[in-house]
């Protein structure tokens, strides 16, 4: 697994120096304390490195390994939540009952769905008057100066918040769905940059990247770069379309 190619990225930190896959191996074997390894720095360094020499396969591999490291570190850092309440190993009879109960619940909802369908088809045949515009916009007592001042106030507040984590949490799963939704729009794929919003936070960029890697690993997307330094395009693939040139998805 350790096949360091010339020019490929090497980790330099206070406590570890060497190729990334070696770090991962050691971490997996518990021989290195990830708490002492600044993963964010490694990621930033790698991003800088990849700007000089970008190789899709290497990037895929590297980022997959980084993701694995982040996961390991996150597991190590997090307090262990109480185990999810799995129903205690069911007797075959209980399981049968449980399944039947679920089926019954599901059927009830199927029935109401049918009733809702009838309401839907009635209401879809009903039309309204287009809402009328009021003589003016719905505003009173606000001057242009108020608007200007409000904007100034917001801008003045912004720098304090630059490092803040946005209140909305963002998950790899969410971003995976978002990437797939974006790719579902056309067969011609999208440019790599289009996966990231212009105002994306760093967290969002990282999570989106991890989502992309996961999709590559699952062979749900394909990333193509026609020429060195050429534009990178991302293509969607059919859900169970196996085989492909994705490669380098790491083995576990």
């Amino acid at each position: 697994m350790t096949n360091t190619r010339p020019g490929s990225y090497v980790v330099h930190t206070a406590t570890f120096e060497g190729p990334l896959d070696q770090l991962l191996q050691l971490a997996q074997q518990g021989q290195v304390d990830l708490e002492t390894i600044p993963l964010a720095e490694i990621a930033a360094e790698y991003l800088a490195h990849s700007r000089r020499a970008f190789d899709v396969e290497e990037a895929t591999e590297t980022l997959w390994m980084l993701a694995a490291l982040i996961e390991l570190k996150a597991r190590a850092l997090l307090p262990h939540p109480p185990p999810v309440e799995e129903p205690p190993a069911e007797e075959p009879g209980d399981l049968q009952e449980l399944l039947e109960e679920r089926l019954a619940t599901y059927r009830v909802f199927k029935d109401v769905a049918t009733a809702l369908r009838a309401l839907e088809s009635y209401q879809q045949r009903v039309f309204l008057h287009p809402p009328e515009e009021p003589a003016g916009p719905l505003l009173s007592g606000v001057a242009l100066a108020d608007l200007f001042r409000a904007f100034q106030e917001v801008l003045a507040r912004v720098p304090d918040r630059v490092e803040e984590v946005p209140p909305q949490s963002i998950t790899v799963a969410e971003q995976m769905a978002a990437v797939l939704a974006l790719l579902a729009d056309g067969v011609e794929g999208v440019p790599f940059e289009a996966l990231f919003r212009a105002a994306a936070t760093r967290l969002e960029i990282v999570v989106t990247f991890l989502a992309l890697l996961e999709l590559i690993r699952l062979m749900r997307v394909r990333v193509v770069q026609d020429a060195t330094f050429g534009a990178i395009r991302v293509y969607g693939r059919a859900a169970r379309d196996g085989g492909g040139q994705t490669g380098g998805a790491g083995d576990d």
């Binding site: 019954a104 059927r107 879809q124 309204l128």
Partner: protein, 212 residues
Amino acid sequence: MDAPLGTEGVRPEEPGMIELEQAAGDAARLHERDARVRETARAIECILLVSGGPVRVEQLVDAAQVPPEIVVAAVEILMQEYAARGLEIQTVAGGYQLATRPDHAEVVQRFLGAAGREPLTQATLETLAIVAYRQPITRPELEAVRGVRSEYVLERLEERRLIRVVGRKATVGRPILYATTEGFLRYFGLRDLADLPPMAAFGMIHPAAPEE
């Protein structure tokens, strides 16, 4: 024809007179109220036209500047009057709306040059049904009922503004809670959530589950 609003100024000579005057006063007041209700009905008709969506009683009270009971009486009259028309007054999303009758859908669609509207897919409708009857509900709770991942469907429903995020549940992971929107009521022509089709076999969901 000024109807006497009070009888204080009149000196009753005989008991019979008093009754007569009272009756006349009552009739006048009734007549006046009736005229007011009819006038309000005309105004409400106008409001319902320009609104293009459901209008709540309070909004009608504000705009017409009459008490709620007059508004309610006026809407009742309007509903009767429209019973034989091409249009109807629907009770939707906590308000009233003036809408075309479904019988004329083909003509209207031909006029608008619009194809029939696309109904929700079965999966989407079922998901929506579960959210509607179990709200507020988290994605894991929903998935437990459906037995399949529902992220994408929930997103589509949120996009169509049929459901919305209403908060987070105070459990591990603080999962997002979803509920239906006013748009949901409009979409299905429901007055409120109590107007949802009754869940006949609701009791069946937890069949007597005896706690041993």
